[in-house]
């Protein structure tokens, strides 16, 4: 028995993994890319050190936006109960 709903579920799980990898890359890249030097030489954005602003504030905002877009585009509604799913 091949359940079509599982195909959708599997793809969505893979998307979840993809999102976490993007999330990690943004977080890590900005934090240590911009924040690796001497704190005396940091530049500041809206009062926060640039690494912190991009990694923790803008990065979080971007992830929320990305998750919203991805769900609008790729996430499908499926029934959970078996009677309806076997059509």
């Amino acid at each position: 028995m091949k359940d079509q709903r599982f195909k959708i579920a599997h793809r969505e799980a893979l998307i979840g993994i993809g999102l976490v990898i993007v999330n990690f890359a943004i977080w890590f890249g900005f934090a240590y890319g911009l924040g690796g030097g001497d704190p005396a030489n940091y530049s500041y954005v809206f009062g926060f050190p640039a690494w912190f602003f991009y990694s923790c504030i803008a990065g979080t905002g971007f992830m929320i936006l990305l998750i919203w877009i991805v769900m609008k585009l790729f996430f499908k509604e499926v029934p959970f109960d078996d009677e309806e799913g076997d059509r």
């Binding site: 028995m1 359940d3 709903r5 599982f6 959708i8 579920a9 599997h10 969505e12 799980a13 998307i15 979840g16 993994i17 999102l19 976490v20 999330n23 990690f24 977080w27 890590f28 934090a31 240590y32 924040g35 690796g36 001497d38 704190p39 005396a40 940091y42 500041y44 809206f46 009062g47 926060f48 050190p49 690494w51 912190f52 990694s55 923790c56 504030i57 990065g59 979080t60 992830m63 929320i64 998750i67 919203w68 769900m71 996430f75 499908k76 509604e77 499926v78 029934p79 959970f80 109960d81 078996d82 799913g85």
Partner: protein
């Protein structure tokens, strides 16, 4: 005692009680007691699902312990805390619709029900039940202590009195209202957590004379407060990154979270919950930990980390607002404790009593057993919490990591990998748990990584190897996955 502070807290408790009584009506009228009491009838919508997830996940350490550490380490600790963002979307996406469908197909009430049907192994059921009871009981105790300490510091009552007030108020609504009461109170509590965080963050920034001003003071004291490596330079990229496993992606393996991923109503609820959950968890974790850092110039010279958040609140906010904000850690603690209590109780009743002691118990007997077991566990926690251990954050993380190492692959591979079998799962659970304990006891931060890293990796490798090596025994198995 400030009555203006205590008043919102009392109001909060009254609302919570009301929900418990209301939920009890559902239980009386439900025709499937087990599904209703331990799963709320699988009727959760998106907002409630999101809130019960984040409220269960966010605990006393997010509001009390975490900001305290941020106070001494600076922005580097906020960076680390942001590894928790995936907890808002990753669990629901990974377990996702497949778990929701399979759980219904197996008619699973508990996470262990799913594992039992999937692997058909008593060893797995018993190993899982033991680890849930042992680890979550200790986590519950830590939360109980945290809640009591909080009431103690806010009201000036003795620790013992505070503990009883806290414990009784949680026990009553959980025992009479079951999962539905837990989820609904979680919704109120999660909302209080988000609002409290925002109010306190704004209050702190104003009290500190703006972000620029606060950052300047921090740099003047020690420039490393604003570096990602922490004030003492001890937060290495590797260590902080491996925290992702513990507090971000590994959360999939936490039974109290996973069980919520089988209790929602439909796909729409899940989609909505992912958005709300991610925004809420981002707000709380970012806000509370940043508050801890910003508190330093506003309120210098606090020695005990756990006191930073309560003292700061009382200093920067007018009493009534302070009461609302201080309800947030109370809410966080209660909402974690109630989920753990429900889970431990469901494990004892459904996975041990009904599986092994009395499989043919009548509905009335199950009902009675559920109420009695929940009560006894709750009272047992109180007795242990009377003699409390220190350092909330670490105690809590211990139960976290151990359970993740035990369950993450058993659940995820069981769900997605047809070749996953009971031998692989058992080997992986034992490896995960014992390696976690050994590393935590003898080699903390091994190779510069967080304790949880190696157990998770090792249990994955063992799982796959053992499953492949024994796959010939499962040639003709029908799995329904």
């Amino acid at each position: 005692m400030h009555w203006q502070v205590v008043f919102p807290l009392l109001l909060f408790l009254i609302i919570i009680f009301g929900i418990g009584i209301w939920a009890n009506k559902h239980i009386r009228s439900s025709n499937s007691f087990l599904q209703e009491y331990f799963l709320g009838g699988r009727e959760m919508g998106g907002f409630i699902l999101a809130m019960t997830m984040i409220a269960t996940y966010g605990s006393a350490s997010s509001f009390i312990g975490g900001p305290g550490v941020a106070y001494t380490k600076g922005l580097g600790w906020v960076l680390l805390a942001m590894a928790q963002l995936p907890a808002g979307y990753f669990v629901l996406m990974i377990l996702g619709k497949k778990f929701a469908i399979i759980a219904r197909r197996y008619q699973a009430i508990t996470l262990i029900d799913f594992l039992r049907e999937r692997y058909k192994s008593h060893v797995i059921v018993i190993l899982s039940a033991i680890s849930i009871i042992v680890f979550l009981f200790s986590a519950m105790m830590a939360q109980w202590v945290g809640g009591a300490r909080l009431i103690e510091s806010l009201t000036g009552l003795s620790y013992t009195t505070a503990l009883f007030i806290f414990a009784i108020s949680v026990l009553v609504y959980v025992i009479i209202g079951g999962f539905r009461a837990v989820a609904l109170t979680d919704t109120v509590q999660g909302t209080v957590m988000v609002i409290g965080t925002v109010i306190l963050l704004i209050g702190t920034i104003i009290a500190g004379g703006g972000i620029d001003n606060i950052m300047t003071s921090l740099v003047a004291e020690n420039p490393d407060f604003v570096s990602p490596f922490g004030a003492q330079g001890d937060l290495t990229p590797l260590y902080v990154s491996t925290f992702w496993i513990l507090i971000g992606v590994g959360v999939v393996g936490l039974p109290q979270i996973a069980v919520r991923a089988m209790s929602y109503k439909d796909s729409k609820s899940m989609h909505l919950a992912i958005m709300i959950g991610t925004i809420a968890i981002g707000t709380i974790m970012f806000g509370m930990h940043l508050i801890g850092v910003l508190a330093r110039p506003v309120l210098p010279g606090i020695d005990i980390g756990d006191k930073v958040m309560p003292l700061l609140t009382l200093k920067v906010l007018p009493p009534f607002l302070a009461g609302i904000v201080l309800a947030a850690p109370m809410a966080a603690t209660m909402s974690t404790v109630n989920a753990l209590l429900m889970l431990v109780s469901s494990t004892v009743v459904k996975d041990i009593y009904l599986n092994y002691m009395k499989p043919k118990a009548s509905d009335a007997e199950i009902k009675r057993a559920s109420f009695i077991v929940t009560t006894i566990i709750g009272l047992a926690v109180i007795i242990f919490a009377l003699n409390p251990p220190d350092l909330l954050v670490w105690l809590n993380l211990f139960a976290f990591g151990g359970l993740e190492a035990v369950f993450i692959w058993t659940v995820v591979l069981g769900l997605y990998w047809k070749k996953a079998n009971k031998y692989g799962a058992i080997a992986s659970m034992i490896t995960g748990m014992s390696l976690y304990i050994v590393i935590d006891r003898f080699y903390p931060s091994i190779f510069g990584m967080h304790t949880v890293t190696l157990p998770i990796v090792a249990s994955f490798v063992i799982f796959v190897m053992v499953s492949l090596a024994t796959s010939h025994k499962f040639k003709n198995e029908q799995l329904m996955i």
